[in-house]
């Protein structure tokens, strides 16, 4: 597919520059192109490019948007960078990304492969797996917050107590707060992701399995050598989406812990939010956003080259 894309990109033949003729331009489809471009450009100018540029400007200003803005040079950037909490917020965000990747990412795949093998009741399994995705996330978080009650009488602690475990502090300890949030996020996301994998699995050609079976490959080898490679493209897309989502993680720590305890779940986005909407310091907020954007831009370049090699391999 990448090849088609490149070929297509190279396709518009280099035309010789002719004097501009409105009639010929309109006949040649120029007018239509403009008509299609109008909604696109309007939406992007108003809601994407414009705000981004304005954000850049704001990051060099001190303003509360009521009094006239004041230029402060790199002041906002030095303030943000000298904030001792920034390093921890970055580490927390990375920690969340790693945990979510290590635990949250394989579970939907395993779930999908298992459900795909069912010959009876698979709709029931499907529906059950999808239930958490139907629950409005905010409602689910309010519920889970209650389940995570650190008292011995809390939901999870009572249940674990039956098998002699706990009580655990869950959100109330620096080292277990983030894993608790990841546990929730995995629960919330696994079902809907699994459904997408299940659908992708149904497109895997069964002949491949048959051939492998004839070659004497066991069940595990078939999973490893046929199923997973066949899912590769979907896995890439889902991983990309998860990565983007990870760096924007906000709602969960915001509603679960507010960034605590002792900043253990403070993420970069939460910091930006606090700068802007709790402190009213829009300059610092946009400065940190710009830094995050620069980092993500770098990351995207790396991702692009790495996946390019994989997907053409």
């Amino acid at each position: 597919m990448t090849k088609t894309l490149e070929a297509a990109a190279a396709a518009p033949a280099r035309r010789r520059r002719k004097p501009f003729n409105p009639v010929r331009w309109a006949r040649g489809g120029g007018l239509h192109a403009v008509l299609f471009a109008v909604p696109v450009v309007l939406v992007y100018v108003y809601f994407s490019w414009g705000p981004v540029i304005q954000g850049l400007v704001l990051s060099f200003q001190k303003t509360n948007l009521i009094q006239p803005a004041e230029w402060v040079g790199w002041g906002n950037f030095t303030y943000v960078l000298s904030d001792p909490g920034l390093v921890q917020a970055s580490l927390n965000t990375a920690y969340f990304a790693v945990l979510a990747l290590v635990f949250g990412f394989p579970i939907p795949i395993v779930l999908a492969v298992l459900i795909n093998e069912l010959r009876k009741y698979d709709t029931l399994y499907n529906a059950l797996a999808y239930l958490p995705a139907i629950v409005p996330p905010v409602a689910a978080i309010l519920l889970w917050k209650f389940f995570y009650d650190p008292d011995a009488t809390g939901m999870f602690n009572t249940a674990l107590g039956w098998v002699g475990l706990g009580p655990f502090p869950w959100l109330n300890a620096e080292n277990s707060a983030m894993p608790s949030i990841v546990l929730y996020a995995t629960w919330a996301g696994a079902g809907s992701t699994a459904i997408i994998y299940i659908a992708a699995l149904s497109t895997v050609r069964t002949e491949l399995y048959e051939a492998a079976e004839i070659d004497g490959a066991g069940i595990w080898r078939r999973v490893w050598h046929i199923t997973l490679p066949q899912l590769r493209n979907v896995i890439f897309v889902m991983m990309l989406l998860q990565l983007i989502g990870t760096f924007q993680i906000f709602t969960e720590p915001f509603l679960f812990t507010g960034g605590g305890p002792n900043n253990a779940t403070q993420t970069i986005l939460l910091k930006i939010y606090n700068y802007a909407f709790v402190n009213g310091d829009f300059g610092a907020a946009t400065a940190l956003s710009v830094l995050l954007a620069a980092f993500l831009g770098l990351l995207s370049v790396v991702y692009y080259f790495v996946t390019k090699r994989w997907s053409t391999a």
Binding site: P39, G50, P51, E117, P136, T203, L241, T286
Partner: protein
């Protein structure tokens, strides 16, 4: 998509082997228990809490014996949090955002992939550049834009447009769509052009019908994304009549409502979509299925 499959990884002959059969049964049973506990458990607990007195919820959350005597919680939650209306708003926001995303992304992808104007690469580059920009960079300025659209001088605050329109600017969807459009054989379009079809007809008669699966993916992702949206609607929809359930619930939680009423609100906001899901489950899962069936 094949409806009836005779095999997956595990073949029919595998299934006859006792060892495989035993393990299969065990895995299946464990999976069922796990899914029931994690999928239905929270729902059932919320159901219980919604009809219990606040103090019982706090002091004995796992109590199996309870007296469902506080039916009033549900009425209070329904009226107080306006669950019906806020769920309706959630749906309106999701549908509108999805339409907006579809219209803008299809227009952009069609323009870049099929019409290919001279300035196309510029537009494409400008859209691509926003792909990895986190929404927060422009969060504050975007909010200012909503309050006072430059040149037009109108405020979108407290209108659904404030959520719908920004949802349209999704570079990810443009990229995905453009890639898909690129893979549609040019001959189809050339044939249509020879038959006298203009760009609009090519789009509606050739490109869109062939792109149904990828459009499904975009619709699904957009609905799921909009379903989760919390911060932005909280900011631009300050009128409680317009707020989606994701904004309404935390407000209830931080407000002065008793815990039991909060739990009743949580339960209602879960049970309604779940019931709808149960009714339309077949169509929904099939839709999701076809959507995901496309290999990215």
């Amino acid at each position: 998509m094949t409806e009836l499959k005779d095999r997956g990884v595990v073949s029919v002959s595998d299934r006859r082997r006792p060892l495989v059969r035993t393990w299969f049964g065990v895995v299946q049973a464990v999976l069922l228990v796990v899914l029931i506990v994690s999928g239905l458990g929270p729902l059932l607990w919320a159901a219980k809490a919604s009809v219990s007195p606040s103090n019982d919820i706090v002091s004995d959350p796992m109590g199996i014996w309870f007296s469902p005597n506080d039916w009033g919680n549900l009425a209070l939650a329904w009226n107080g949090a306006q669950i019906g209306r806020s769920l309706g708003n959630t749906v309106i926001l999701a549908v509108g955002s999805t339409l907006s995303t579809l219209i803008v992304s299809v227009a952009a992808a069609f323009l870049l992939s099929v019409l290919r104007p001279k300035w196309g690469p510029w537009l494409s580059g400008a859209i691509l550049a926003t792909l990895f920009l986190p929404g927060v960079v422009s969060f504050v300025p975007l909010y200012l834009t909503i309050l006072d659209l430059p040149l037009l001088n109108i405020s979108l605050q407290d209108t659904f447009w404030a959520v719908w329109l920004p949802a349209g600017a999704s570079a990810f969807n443009v990229v995905v769509l453009k890639r898909f459009f690129d893979s549609i054989p040019r001959e189809y379009m050339e044939a249509a052009t020879i038959d006298g079809a203009g760009p609009m007809r090519i789009l509606t008669m050739v490109v869109l019908p062939l792109s149904r699966p990828i459009l499904g993916v975009i619709v699904l992702l957009s609905i799921v994304g909009s379903w989760k949206e919390f911060l932005w609607p909280m900011l631009v929809l300050s009128n409680p009549d317009l707020q989606p359930v994701s904004v309404m619930l935390p407000r209830l939680a931080t407000g002065n409502s008793p815990l039991a009423v909060q739990m009743a609100a949580v339960f209602l906001s879960i049970i309604i979509p779940v019931v709808l899901f149960a009714i339309f489950q077949k169509q929904f899962l099939r839709g999701v299925g076809t959507a995901g069936g496309v290999k990215g």
